[in-house]
Subunit: 274 residues, 2 copies
Amino acid sequence: MNQEEQEFLKNYRLDKYPRPSVTADAAVFSLHHEQQPGYRREPGKKLCILLIQRGNPPFQNCWALPGGFLQPDETVETCAARELKEETCADVTLLRHIGIFSQPERDPRGWIISNAFLSVLSEEKLGNMEIQGADDAACARWFDIELYHKNKTEILTLESGDLTLKAELKKKKNQFAMWEYEILENGGLAFDHAKIIVSALTYLRQAAEQFDLLFDFLPEQFTLTELQKVQEAITAVPALTANFRRKISDYVTETEKFTSGAGHRPARLYQRKS
Amino acid sequence: MNQEEQEFLKNYRLDKYPRPSVTADAAVFSLHHEQQPGYRREPGKKLCILLIQRGNPPFQNCWALPGGFLQPDETVETCAARELKEETCADVTLLRHIGIFSQPERDPRGWIISNAFLSVLSEEKLGNMEIQGADDAACARWFDIELYHKNKTEILTLESGDLTLKAELKKKKNQFAMWEYEILENGGLAFDHAKIIVSALTYLRQAAEQFDLLFDFLPEQFTLTELQKVQEAITAVPALTANFRRKISDYVTETEKFTSGAGHRPARLYQRKS
DNA sequence: CAAATAGTGTCTCTAAGACAATATCAC
DNA sequence: GTGATATTGTCTTAGAGACACTATTTG
């Protein structure tokens, strides 16, 4: 870089123009067991998502995705990971960028644009983790999540104990031929987070159909049946065992270990193939 | 919203914390003809991308993607469209968000994060359009684009007349299991735009394989051969005519019109199926 | 007719879907 | 043996790939 350029940069004022605040928000998914009737029935798995209850306005007491403001020394990815660490004590090892939400009026506090991320916590990590309320968060909870469409409307249902949130959205193309959601009913969710959650779940479903992101829900070693249940919990579409096993075989390697003591035939444990 | 919330919002100061500048940069692709020897040979199609030459530091005289700073009344999408309109006079009707590039040191002017978009201009529009240099841009040109890998390195070649830019990158996973590029040699491109261009082309190729984004390169009515040539120009993989036609048939509808006067059998014109 | 592009028919092979059958444990 | 889950075999069908063949124009 020459003298002239250095001079130029020294006099360059970025704060001459208005700048937005930038956040990273994460849709963190995991699975939880569901007790089944019958003494040696396998417990079912349900997909769930982590939400925090806002302690401050705007949207006080509404439920929102964990997230926070971007700091000068980090990327949006490290920001998402840091905020999750602060709010849930979980070390995130997987992030996917879902989209950017930048409608000028999306946040009543002012000009704030949000980077949406998808993340996954294994059941293992979920067990060890302590969910805490911190910063803006009064408390944090896992919600069972369901999504289906009915009369051209997407219905998102979130359940945690006796609490149920139900949001309705419409999917449409914007002027640039990009798919977008419009919120018809936010169902107790803060900001435009209903959009982000639906976008993230749609992304996750598509990934899971292609056997991507499945392994991140499980410990390092797992049975093929567990893997199949993960896919079924995410996509809400049952698969035929024989076919699932044929297709997954390219992505896994056998170990010499087996499950035991479950009251039925032991299952071989597998690992993810590099 | 109650009294208390209104009070809270009135006292809320977003400018208490540092904020980044945000830009939208667009990789605009199109096709151009390539003259063939032989008196009634069809001209070949080549994929090309629009770059501008920077008129100011930093990276003065280097080539960059068109783009600019986000303004308070717009989304990142409308920002990308506005900047393209200003710099190329083209009305963009298609955008896809490719990713966000937020490494703190990516721009020597300071903390600037970039939203990368992909866009497509049809040959038609390309013909009508006037490319102008404006703002930071000394001039704008279309570059033929090629990308291939060799020894685990991605080689990006951009050619416009006698000018050739050649960048080298390495693809790897970051700590969050996201694919990322590292620039080994930027080949005369500004900032981290080599990364953005490769990301955009990779996205475009994947879309084109699935018959997505092909139609946007062509006028409303087209022949199936033209459509096939578009796909081949993008993916750099030749297809067998009979198979291509079988697969594309779900996405197009026949018209009653035909080409004529080309020195060979006329071809039926098709339209995109809604 | 020659040269060029347009368009169709069909054989093969692979992969997906459906479903049946067998295996192995704890009690 | 019973009840549960684990695992494999195989028939059928749909689709991708390869390639040969026919059709129609202008000069």
